[in-house]
């Protein structure tokens, strides 16, 4: 019987080609607009480190105080003094400090020119905390941190450029006039958004070339190439005074395994603030935060508002297309009141009529979904026009998006057909036959 309904459905689709085309186009455009904007939204709103996102936290301490903090919220990074104090306190199972650096590679010969390379100065826990995968070697350990060793980890892409992809562990690399020893080469690892640096950047920029040992970078007075934010009067002169200033630029992350560990760490942050208040460094009450990855990304508003607004507008658009489809289906089904009357008089039950028209709607939904898929694929190539390139490059069509497109189109169309099909099933056979 189901096969027969499909046959009837297809025949009916051919009967009013204009009306059918209109519905298929409405569904197609609606679902395509939703899917294109959804694919971008999906790319920017994803969890970059799902397996650990609830164990990684950003500690925040109000080092600026009322009137100068960010509308009541503590600054999103640490100044040097607080960062070092918290590193020494060892109150979390792991803790990393991060800042961005930009260096240059030295030309090979008299005719070539230097090339800029960018990366992060990090402490040893960075690698195990974020599960950085390694191709060769490993990160360094805390002892190396304390030895202020000239260690560096290269990304696979940078290792390809500099060492042709060979195992470079143990080799030396000169960056901005200083030698570093390669201790590891990281496999391709590009969490999107780059959650650990979203205080300083939007999280979708080019990936780093290397990670170097933070204490060594500090010893060399390697400049912070990322964000730096200060308050009050800037009075420092020179590197050492800068380190003692209220400027925040070091991004802290801690790993806390359980909820009670997190609660304990939050209390520690408070007691640290109280100590600083007693010592006279801060003239205000403790104001601390401890946000995990998800909360942090939300607080930093990593998802661009454009992406959210366009998704909302596109879904509304799809909804209007469905309202349109309800109207057109109603017209299409009721036009065949006579035919329904004959079928009912010949013994078809209401239930059968209902099923037949839902199947017909599903066929329209399938056609709309196919058109929507086509438009989505075409639209994807134009995503670069609609969103910033670093975000547009993240959006892509994959199997789940194809499936979602077809399912959304069919489910939505069948849902839209409930009322028209019900009306069709209500047709009184006697009345129809009589009027003929």
């Amino acid at each position: 019987m189901f096969g027969y309904y499909i046959q009837l459905g297809l025949r009916s689709l051919r009967r009013n080609p204009m009306l059918t085309a209109l519905m298929v186009m409405a569904i197609g455009f609606g679902v395509a607009a939703s899917m294109i904007t959804y694919s971008v939204f999906r790319a920017v709103s994803g969890n970059p480190i799902p397996e650990k996102s609830s164990q990684l936290f950003v500690p925040q301490i109000d080092s600026w105080g009322p009137g100068q903090n960010e509308k009541g919220e503590p600054p999103g990074a640490f100044n040097y003094v607080d960062a070092m104090a918290l590193m020494r306190a060892h109150q979390a199972s792991r803790m990393a400090l991060i800042y961005k650096v930009m260096l240059s590679t030295v030309p090979h010969d008299a005719n070539s020119v230097p090339v800029s390379a960018q990366g992060f100065a990090v402490t040893s826990d960075f690698f195990p905390m974020f599960d950085v995968p390694f191709l060769y070697g490993n990160g360094w350990n805390a002892a190396e941190d304390n030895n202020r060793a000239a260690d560096i980890v290269l990304t696979a892409e940078f290792n390809q450029r500099v060492f042709g992809g060979a195992n470079s562990v143990g080799k030396n690399i000169t960056l901005s006039g200083h030698d570093y020893r390669v201790v590891g080469v990281a496999r391709h690892w590009d969490p999107s958004p780059r959650f650990y640096d979203v205080w300083a950047e939007d999280g979708f920029d080019n990936q780093p070339d290397f990670y170097l040992l933070l204490n060594r970078a500090l010893d060399l007075h390697t400049d912070n190439a990322g964000r730096n934010s200060c308050r009050g009067t800037i009075s420092y002169n020179g590197w050492d005074e800068y380190l003692q200033s209220n400027c925040v630029w070091l991004m802290p992350w801690v790993e806390l395994d359980t909820a009670s560990d997190a609660a304990r760490y939050l209390r520690f942050l408070e007691s640290y603030s109280v100590e600083q208040q007693r010592a006279g460094r801060y003239g205000w009450k403790p104001n601390v935060r401890l946000r995990d990855v998800t909360d942090w990304l939300e607080y930093r508003e990593v998802v661009p508002p454009e992406s959210r607004i366009s998704l909302v507008v596109a879904v509304c658009f799809f909804f209007i297309c469905l309202v349109n489809t309800v109207g057109l289906l109603l017209a299409k089904f009721m036009r065949r009141a006579g035919e329904i009357g004959v079928r009912r008089a010949l013994g078809a039950t209401r239930h059968e009529i209902y099923a037949q028209y839902l199947v017909e709607a599903a066929a329209i939904g399938l056609a709309g979904g196919a058109l929507g898929l086509l438009l989505t694929v075409v639209g994807m190539s134009g995503v670069g026009l609609l969103f910033a390139p670093e975000i547009a490059r993240l959006a892509h069509v994959d199997l789940s998006l194809v499936g979602l497109t077809l399912v959304a189109a069919i489910v939505a169309t069948v849902a839209a057909a409930f009322y028209p099909a019900w009306r069709a099933a209500q047709v009184q056979p006697a009345w129809q036959l009589k009027s003929n």
Binding site: M102, S104, P107, V313, G327, L328, L386
Partner: protein
């Protein structure tokens, strides 16, 4: 035309009537808000930079060696001299940033006294030499430009105090609303006061982000040659019509002078047109997407009205025939369907206006958008009423051509 019989007929087509009205209402809500978003994005993209964009380009120059502050100062002076020799170049200046640069930018809090904790405003902070304003083509409307002897060199994290500044009119007005800013002083996170010696008409901030919307156009220039170890920006003014040639020649000349530098081939040299294009690409993308959605939405709504009205016409052929046989003219039938659509559309836009403001309220609270002006809603209402009338015309015309003899035929 009597409205009573139309209403009576509509009561027999409740579902179709409600669907058309609902569709018009939703379309109005989306289209009004989308058009408003488009308008806001376009006006953001049109913000004046205050500089001679047609004849300017920017070089992002990174040093390939480690220099002391004095060495950087020497390098910058050599580079500026080299760039001035490039054919077609009119003037060159070095700066820490440039208007509508976009991305992370340098801004300083501004206070009127040194111990004020809460800042009055947040100004975009430019460092420039005596040829900064003339190179950019910014228009000085009061006071004077910097003198060459006022320019101080400042290395990374070095404390250098400049006691004078040139500010934009927007910033002058914010600090001194009475319009007497010239000669007054302020603090820009500095321990010493800075005196305003000049006011430029417009100098856009370096950033174009939404957070700085409340500080729009507020910029200041200090007479400092920033000699930082990472590099500098060169802003180059060319003679009219020589932009492309100069943009090609400039990096070559710099590399020929000293190859230990890094100018990215992709975005190291940007014309101001490219700068503007990059800075506002989010706005442009949003405007394009909203335009496409508006256009397709209006088309689909119109098509939906055509479809449903055609169905009604088909259903009522016999009744139309009867009316024609009883003396109704072509015009009467046409007007009947047009009026019927107008009534439904009026109902639709009535609900639609509420939905429009509801959606706008949500966008305002969620995305800090602005409140929709009433003119947009009125414009949207008129547009949808016209759209409805336009869409109903073809089926209504077909209805008016139903011959009276239809009354005698079986349905």
């Amino acid at each position: 035309m009597h409205i009573q019989p139309i209403l009576a007929a509509l009561r027999r087509h409740k579902a179709g009537t409600i669907l058309i009205a609902l569709q018009i209402a939703l379309t109005l809500a989306i289209v009004c808000n989308a058009l408003f978003i488009i308008h806001q994005r376009l006006s953001h993209m049109d913000e004046p930079s205050g500089v001679d964009e047609a004849n300017l380009f920017v070089i992002r120059n990174l040093w390939g060696e480690q220099y002391s502050t004095q060495q950087v100062v020497g390098r910058i002076q050599e580079d500026v001299a080299t760039l001035r020799q490039v054919p077609g170049v009119q003037d060159v200046t070095a700066s820490n940033q440039y208007p509508i640069e976009g991305g992370g930018a340098w801004d300083n809090f501004i206070t009127l006294n040194p111990d004020q904790r809460v800042a009055m405003t947040d100004a975009s902070f430019f460092t420039g030499d005596a040829s900064f304003l003339s190179t950019l083509g910014a228009k000085l409307i009061a006071g004077r430009d910097f003198r060459p002897d006022e320019i101080k060199n400042q290395g990374m994290r070095e404390k250098v105090t400049s006691s004078v500044a040139i500010v934009s009119k927007a910033m002058a007005d914010k600090l001194f609303p009475k319009g007497d800013a010239l000669g007054k002083s302020f603090y820009a996170m500095t321990s010493d006061p800075i005196t305003i010696i000049g006011i430029v008409d417009v100098l856009h901030r370096a950033d174009v982000s939404t957070w700085s919307a409340t500080y729009a156009g507020e910029s200041m220039v200090v007479p400092i040659r920033l000699a930082e170890p990472w590099g500098t920006y060169y802003i180059v003014r060319v003679k009219p019509g020589q932009l492309e040639a100069a943009m090609r020649a400039a990096p070559k000349a710099l590399y020929a002078e000293n190859r230990m530098r890094m100018i990215e081939s992709k975005d190291g040299v940007l014309s101001y047109a490219q700068v503007r294009h990059q800075a506002f690409e989010r706005d442009r993308g949003m405007a394009i997407l909203m335009s496409i959605i508006c256009a397709v939405l209006l088309a689909i709504t119109a098509a939906g009205i055509v479809g449903l009205t055609s169905f009604w016409v088909g259903q009522r052929r016999k009744q139309i025939g009867v009316r024609r046989a009883l003396g109704a003219t072509h015009g009467d039938i046409l007007r009947y369907f047009m009026t019927e659509n107008l009534l439904i559309s009026l109902g639709g836009v009535g609900i639609g206006v509420l939905l429009t403001f509801g959606l706008n309220l949500w966008l305002v609270t969620r995305f800090t958008l602005h409140v929709l002006p009433v003119t947009y809603v009125l414009g949207g209402v008129v547009m949808l009423l016209l759209l409805g009338q336009g869409a109903v015309f073809p089926p209504a015309l077909r209805a008016s051509r139903v011959p009276p003899v239809e009354a005698t035929r079986p349905v």
